[in-house]
Symmetry: C2
Subunit: 437 residues, 2 copies
């Protein structure tokens, strides 16, 4: 077949019709929900499948986190095709890639699978197993909201504008006098305004929950929370060649949080039919976005009635300088930095300008700000964390502080670690709790 | 380094921070605009770079198209890293992938490059060389329009809705009484409502040309023209697992064209501030989208003053049944079908329902419809085609027919073939000709 194609390639420049030359089918979801991967590679000595389909196992738990062992699914050769079949899989959105000959760097997306998600700087193949939790992640025959990518004025770091994604629920256009509550939904370190759309399946989750009357119709705003970049990779005019990078430490210096109410909320309230008050405004974020969520709400205690921390970094590394709270955060940070020199490393060009939008004072006086916030408490202060998350201890410390002071919160402790599997679940759990009538 | 990571992988479940483990930088754009690719693969015997960065060369031209020889850039091994450097490259958006050990199926996107475009079913790494034509494809510091993904009601094939992408120019929101002309911009076979956004760089092109006053501010509507799927892969509720496929022959049976005015144009005129008349409405499409463009406009001669055929399929295969016009189309189609069994093949699940929205009568009486259209001619009938395009001869036949009848058109013959390089250029050339005051 291959030789035939090469010989007869009359129209090899026909990029529309002629690129799909791969002859294996992969992945194949079998009737019992096991999944078979097939990969054509005649010359490999070993191929394994990695990714969320084969998550790491926890071996030892330590105060700094857990020691895990990466797993992988071994593929077996049959002629030129490598294959393996999983056990029957629970319903979930799974990501995966092939690793060839035991090299960490041979990150190969499945050539036979067109479904690819970018997570920070890595492309990952994905598939969905239905029949359970992932049913909320699938596009169903329900009324669909729209998603817009818009630019809003911003003066962060000498920028003139930044980009956000905005979800408008089904019916928004046809009900021109109706006003809606708003959820601000923030990404993690390395993410951008596409993260909740791509890995987070936010549009599908919102369409489905709203259609089934499991949550209120709402506007959902997903801004870019990386202070160094105005938009997703390739879209920032000031940094056209900039690649995404995991370490957004400069986004932990107060700039994002300080500008948020004026720039992000101000723009949304001016340009969409929002209900502009505390009881119709929610904010939630994962990891770094949890840090932003906490300090945006602590510094604006009369603005958000619903606050969600998903696997949050629950205090700023800045605070550690003052013999501060939750030193585990700084320990972890240094541990990460020393152990993983690639953090903010290989994929990040170091051409970014210095950060001028710095305001660490917003991280000061956490105790006082918590006291103020809980003197007129939000209707929901939501904390979700996985038992294996490296931020579990830090979240425990935050809960201890809340408990000591009698501040009420809702706590959702789950299996698992710092993963999109958990963040999607947290969103599905969080949304029905918002804007109750 | 790798062994260290494996040994110390304390937080290996930390998907946000810990995935970027690759240590090479690629691609590197050198000061002279040559490009160096680096790829870590200790076990390969041979690695080459393929893609638009190494386009096929034409060896022999035939009446059915051209016989081409695929080129590739050979990489040389240095330790575990394979590298090669191109000649200095002209300004362009280039796609590429790595092929290992001479296997067509070893389609590897560059693990070090997060910038990936999906073209039909294939993921391709890409980069941009500035300093020329590709400057129009880069996001610059100019006012930005917004892009929305919206669902509109549709009854095609028992669907209830289909999805379109809508570009609103900068200023649309801030000028609530201003009305705008509309361009309907259609994709090719295998494409969807994302194609002009991703491979076509339509948003960047529009932002830049509007900002430089090189074209009028306009609304641009990019619907999904695949009659079998309501939306881009994974988003069609009726076909959640459907993969994209190159052969959209069922979208050449009249269904898309017949529903277009009522469903697509009707929705847009009802939901956006359009100027709803012929002189403020344009339509253009590439390849299959050129077929749609031609027959939507021929069957609605009073609706479009600007018509653009970009490498168009300029007549329907349906017409060949009647000893018809331009038999070269059918010849080519059969040639493709016989030569390339994978067309509509390996990547396409054959679970799609039968096509009920069929209306081949719209392809009838081309001569009469041309005569009617040109009795009150459009302000612009634009034909663009590459000299090496397999549809060149068919477009020559269409031009012969127009010439014989004295119907005026604008003709843009370029180098190259059936490629996104050409379609981006055609869009940049076409836009300034629209809606002249």
């Amino acid at each position: 077949m291959k030789k035939l194609l090469t010989g007869l390639l009359l129209v090899s420049t026909c990029s529309v019709w002629c690129m799909a030359q791969h002859t294996v089918t992969s992945p194949v979801i079998n009737p019992d929900k096991s999944v078979t991967f097939n990969y054509y590679n005649p010359d490999a000595d070993e191929v394994v499948v990695k990714g969320s389909v084969a998550p790491a196992r926890t071996l030892i738990r330590t105060k700094l986190g857990n020691i895990t062992k990466s797993r992988s699914l071994e593929m077996k050769r049959n002629g030129d095709i490598w294959s393996c079949t999983t056990d029957p899989l629970p319903s979930e959105l799974y990501t995966y890639y092939f690793e060839v000959d035991d090299d960490d760097d041979s990150h190969v997306i499945d050539p036979a699978n067109p479904n690819v998600i970018r997570d920070i700087a890595d492309s990952l193949s994905y598939f969905i197993i239905d029949g359970g939790i992932a049913d909320d992640y699938i596009t169903h025959e329900v009324p669909h909201g729209s998603i817009s990518k818009v630019w809003y004025p911003s003066t962060l770091n000498g920028m003139t504008k930044r980009r956000m994604s905005v979800y408008l629920p089904a019916g928004y256009k046809n009900n021109p006098s109706k006003r809606y509550p708003v959820l601000y939904l923030l990404h993690g370190s390395g993410g951008d305004e596409d993260s909740w759309l791509d890995s987070g399946r936010a549009v599908q989750i919102l369409d489905n929950l709203i259609a089934e009357n499991r949550c209120e119709p709402m506007i959902v705003v997903m801004p870019n929370g990386n202070v160094e970049l105005a938009a997703t990779p390739g879209q920032d005019p000031a940094n056209p060649g900039q690649k995404p990078f995991g370490n957004n430490a400069k986004s932990m210096l107060g700039g994002i949080e300080s500008a948020f109410m004026k720039e992000v909320v101000g723009y949304v309230d001016s340009n969409y039919r929002t209900i502009n008050d505390k009881s119709h405004r929610a904010i939630a974020g994962l990891s770094l976005g949890g840090l932003h969520t906490l300090f945006i709400s602590l510094n604006n205690p009369d603005k958000f009635d619903y606050i969600g921390l998903f696997s949050a970094l629950p205090d700023s590394p800045v605070n550690d300088r003052k013999a501060g709270n939750m030193p585990v955060i700084a320990d972890m940070w240094n541990e990460l930095k020393d152990t993983f020199p690639f953090l903010g490393g290989s994929k990040a060009d170091k051409k970014l300008s210095n950060i001028t939008s710095v305001n660490p004072s917003i991280y000061e006086d956490v105790d006082g700000k918590l006291s103020t916030m809980f003197s007129n408490p939000p209707k929901l202060f939501y904390i979700a964390i996985g038992q294996d998350d490296f931020l579990k201890k830090a979240n425990d410390d935050l809960r201890t502080k809340l408990n000591v002071n009698g501040y009420k919160y809702y706590y959702n402790e789950t299996d698992g670690a710092h993963t999109w599997e958990n963040w999607r679940k947290y969103l599905v759990d969080f949304l029905p709790r918002l804007f109750a009538k």
